[in-house]
């Protein structure tokens, strides 16, 4: 097979190149060019010298992340929370999608879908206020119920009870994202050829057989793509969620602190651009490695489902 040069390709497929050009240019200007700012992570930033004129300072900016062992703790928390959220929100979303698509009543189906989707539109600031009013020691709904039933009120904001926040946070995350994620799966399920189900009906399959042997395999590529995309964000805690739910309750930080909240707390007042850039660089670098590794694993198992 004869190999052709780039110019030949360009001439031959000029319409295709033209069509791709806007997207390529946008990505280049909005995603690749700003990446040059990453040098900031290795600089002692000085306003009058600018990003590229400032002096280099090696890995000094990264040091504060790992000062007194916090780096490991917050990295662990971030990864575990994201894994939990991956399982809860994605898994539940798949189940919800299947249930909704199996529903018969059209109106009821729409209604359920809207209700599940609604939390997506509620800002974390509002959710934070919900949570505070639910769990507040003195006036919270939870403790009101406990008192009414004659048991001791529960103070969730102490270090002894901090572990409960793992479930609270995952629950809120699930509540907020399930509806949104399920939309994508519902779309995938709608795309499945109805003839498959009709054939299964004739063969005498029941509803569980159909879900297991038809629906699941059909939406597997979608599930894998969604998970791969989520893995790319695994080191980015949903800052707003943690910040609004926990606030400054120091006794919970051991359990609830993620990289983003730690960086925010440490640098909000000092405004050191180099250090914030370093934190962001650290997150991106680890995410990059994770995506490559997971993608490799996926392509070993199933070549067609891998992203690249």
């Amino acid at each position: 097979m004869k190999k052709h040069g780039f110019l030949y390709e360009l001439r031959k497929n000029k319409a295709l190149f033209l069509m791709a050009a806007p997207a390529v240019l946008l990505t280049f200007f909005l995603a690749y060019l700003p990446m040059s700012g990453l040098v900031l992570a290795f600089k002692n930033f000085n306003y009058s010298l600018g990003v590229f004129g400032s002096a280099w300072n090696g890995f000094d900016n990264f040091a504060y992340l790992f000062q007194s062992g916090t780096g490991w703790l917050i990295t662990r928390n971030t990864i575990l929370y994201n894994l939990m959220n991956l399982i809860t929100s994605q898994f539940v979303a798949v189940i919800v999608a299947i249930i909704i698509s199996e529903m018969v009543g059209r109106l009821y189906k729409r209604f359920v879908q809207s209700v599940i989707f609604l939390p997506y539109f509620i800002s974390w600031v509002i959710v934070g206020i919900f949570a505070y009013n639910l769990f507040n020691y003195e006036t919270g709904v939870l403790n009101g119920l406990l008192r009414a039933m004659g048991s001791e009120p529960l103070n969730l904001y102490t270090s002894e009870n901090a572990w409960m926040w793992v479930f609270i946070i995952c629950l809120f995350n699930m509540w907020k994202w399930t509806g949104y994620n399920s939309i994508i799966y519902i779309a995938a399920i709608t795309g499945i050829d109805a003839e498959c189900y009709e054939a299964a009906d004739i063969d005498g399959a029941n509803i569980f057989h159909k879900i297991w042997y038809i629906t699941f395999p059909a939406i597997r590529p979608t599930i894998i793509t969604m998970i791969l995309l989520q893995v790319g964000r695994i080191l980015r805690g949903d800052f707003e969620m943690f910040y609004q739910l926990v606030g400054s309750s120091g006794q919970l930080f051991q359990v609830t602190d993620v990289i983003d909240t730690y960086v925010f707390r440490s640098l909000a007042t000092s405004g050191n651009l180099g250090m914030t850039a370093a934190a962001s660089f650290y997150q991106s670098a680890v995410c990059f490695i994770l995506v490559i590794v997971v993608n490799k694993i996926v392509s070993k198992i199933d070549q067609d489902s891998a992203l690249f």
């Binding site: 504060y64 309750s249 120091g250």
Partner: protein, 517 residues
């Protein structure tokens, strides 16, 4: 392999592209740095007002809709008196963080600008962004120079030279509880509020009468009772940190933090007792704050006198039948740094003499001051019984963002402000005048430079929030153990290096600017 080579080629192309762009911005960056290095004043002639000049002033604020009318009004006056006009340039709040630093690196010609400690005044001065004022300040702004306090002049000094003109408006380190008095009108409460014991009596009385209230205001941003405790015990918290303090009366003050301080257990035991009495919620640190004070859930907090004054003015404008009281508990009252609002002359100006002359006129001549700070008499403001009444508030005349130009002599209280405010301020002024530039007043000139210890300093701030805040609010069961944990976390974060470095800076300060004996 082929695939990999292609990929490598792509990476190289991208890298090249990035370096090309990097080269551009790098070039412009260094060029501007070179432009800002000259700062000598040279011999300037006496002010010659024969030429009409138009000066430009930059400051941070959002431009009000009808500012042009105000500007035309004061320019008529400036033209007549000094043959000068002034154009104001407003940097909007939304992007001052980007625009302000660029102002001095762009090489643009202008004549006056606002600066402040929180806008990195000291580091910009070191980088040569501002004109050195050693000779020209007393020469062209003699009235302003004469009214400056010693503390203010020290605060304006960077590397032995003056680079800014601090504000002439005195603000005070006075701090104390502002509290509602109407709640206990018909009870036996004696009205005393001289210290923590009185506050506890007050809070007990409130809690007995209104058990559903959480009377002391604590939210996500923490409580300031720790700072209050220091002030009430004649200790001085170093500006810029919330966890380092000194004894301002000691001959050789040592930087101290909470676990090194003898009185810490007294403080913590009191706070634990208050928490158990329900003066604040046990979940308070997760409360984002929803105006509880105005909604009648909180009724007391510690803050400065302006907050108290604001509450009283609110009540005047929109009466709810609430009355407020205020007491200062800080024993060794001092002025807050005067450089928290200041004026600079950029190195690019061509009219430093005229700029200083104009600034002198604005800050020290009542006519110039009123026109620039208050606006148009009869249209935007009028003075009633020594208080300023805002007129046509709905018409967006606004007021200037050049807060540095304020002067205690001319700055009048807003209509409806409390009567005792001026008395208290007079008391503090008398105390400061009597004590001279000593103790807290003297140390207010000391600012910390954390450049070399940024990592440790930030880590410590973080530990304070994680361990000290819950301890301070009485959320920790075992105080002794909690304090030990706090100490060990602080040490792991590098507190000793922080204290050592800052202690050396403090000693340098004492050596370079010896206090009055």
């Amino acid at each position: 392999m082929k695939k990999f080579q292609k990929f490598l080629a792509l990476v190289l192309v991208l890298a090249l592209a990035v370096t090309v762009f990097a080269g551009c911005s790098g070039g412009s960056g260094s060029g501007s740095a070179a432009g800002g290095s000259g700062s000598g004043s040279g011999d300037l002639p006496d002010v010659d007002n024969s030429q009409a000049v138009n000066l430009t002033m930059y400051f941070i604020s959002d431009k009000p809709g009808k500012w042009d009318e105000v500007e035309a009004n004061y320019n008529k006056l400036f033209q007549e008196k000094l043959n000068t006009t002034l154009t104001t340039q407003w940097i909007a709040w939304s992007d001052y963080g980007n625009k302000y630093p660029l102002l001095f690196s762009s090489g643009e010609e202008f004549d006056l600008a606002y600066t402040a400690t929180w806008l990195s005044y000291a580091s910009l001065a070191q980088k040569g962004a501002f004109k050195e004022l050693d000779d020209i300040w007393p020469k062209y702004a003699p009235n302003n120079w004469a009214q400056q306090s010693e503390a203010a002049k020290i605060q304006a000094t960077v590397n032995g030279h003056y680079y800014c003109i601090p504000t002439l408006l005195a603000t005070y380190s006075a701090y104390g509880p502002y509290y509602r008095t109407d709640l206990l009108d018909d009870s036996e409460w004696d009205g005393a509020m001289e210290g923590f014991d009185d506050l506890e009596t007050y809070l007990d009385a409130i809690k007995a009468k209104y058990p559903e209230m959480q009377p002391y205001g604590v939210t996500m941003s923490g409580s300031e009772l720790d700072d209050m405790w220091l002030g009430a015990n004649s200790l001085y918290a170093i500006r810029g940190t919330s966890w380092l303090f000194i004894d301002p009366f000691a001959d050789e003050p040592k930087l101290t933090t909470w676990y090194q301080y003898d009185g810490v257990m007294d403080f913590l035991t009191m706070m634990k007792r208050w928490c158990e009495k329900g003066f604040w919620s046990r979940s308070a640190l997760s409360n984002a704050g929803n105006n509880e004070m105005d909604n009648g859930i909180f009724c007391v907090d510690v803050h400065n006198v302006d907050t108290y004054s604001g509450k009283v003015i609110n009540e005047y404008n929109d009466p709810k039948g609430w009355t407020w009281g205020y007491k200062n508990w800080v024993k060794d009252v001092s002025n807050l740094p005067f450089t928290q609002d200041a004026c600079v002359i950029p190195t690019t100006t061509k009219h430093a003499d005229r700029a200083l002359q104009l600034y002198d006129y604005i800050t020290t001549d009542e006519e110039g001051y009123r026109a620039f700070m208050n606006g148009i008499e009869g249209t935007t403001y009028e003075i009633v019984d020594g208080q300023v009444r805002t007129l046509n508030a709905d018409q967006d005349y606004g007021s200037t963002g050049m807060w540095a130009a304020r002067n205690s002599k001319f700055n009048l209280p807003t209509e409806g402000s409390p009567e005792d405010e001026q008395e208290m301020k007079a008391e503090w002024d008398a105390y400061i005048a009597e004590n001279g530039n000593r103790h807290s007043q003297y140390y207010s000139g000391f600012t910390i430079d954390t450049t070399s210890i940024e990592t440790e300093y930030n880590a410590c701030g973080n530990v304070v929030q994680q361990y000290w805040w819950p301890l301070e609010l009485g959320f920790t069961d075992d105080l002794e153990a909690g304090l030990k944990e706090f100490q060990s976390q602080m040490e792991a974060a590098g507190v000793n290096k922080v204290i050592e470095t800052l202690q050396a800076q403090l000693e340098d300060y004492i050596k370079n600017f010896p206090p009055e004996s």
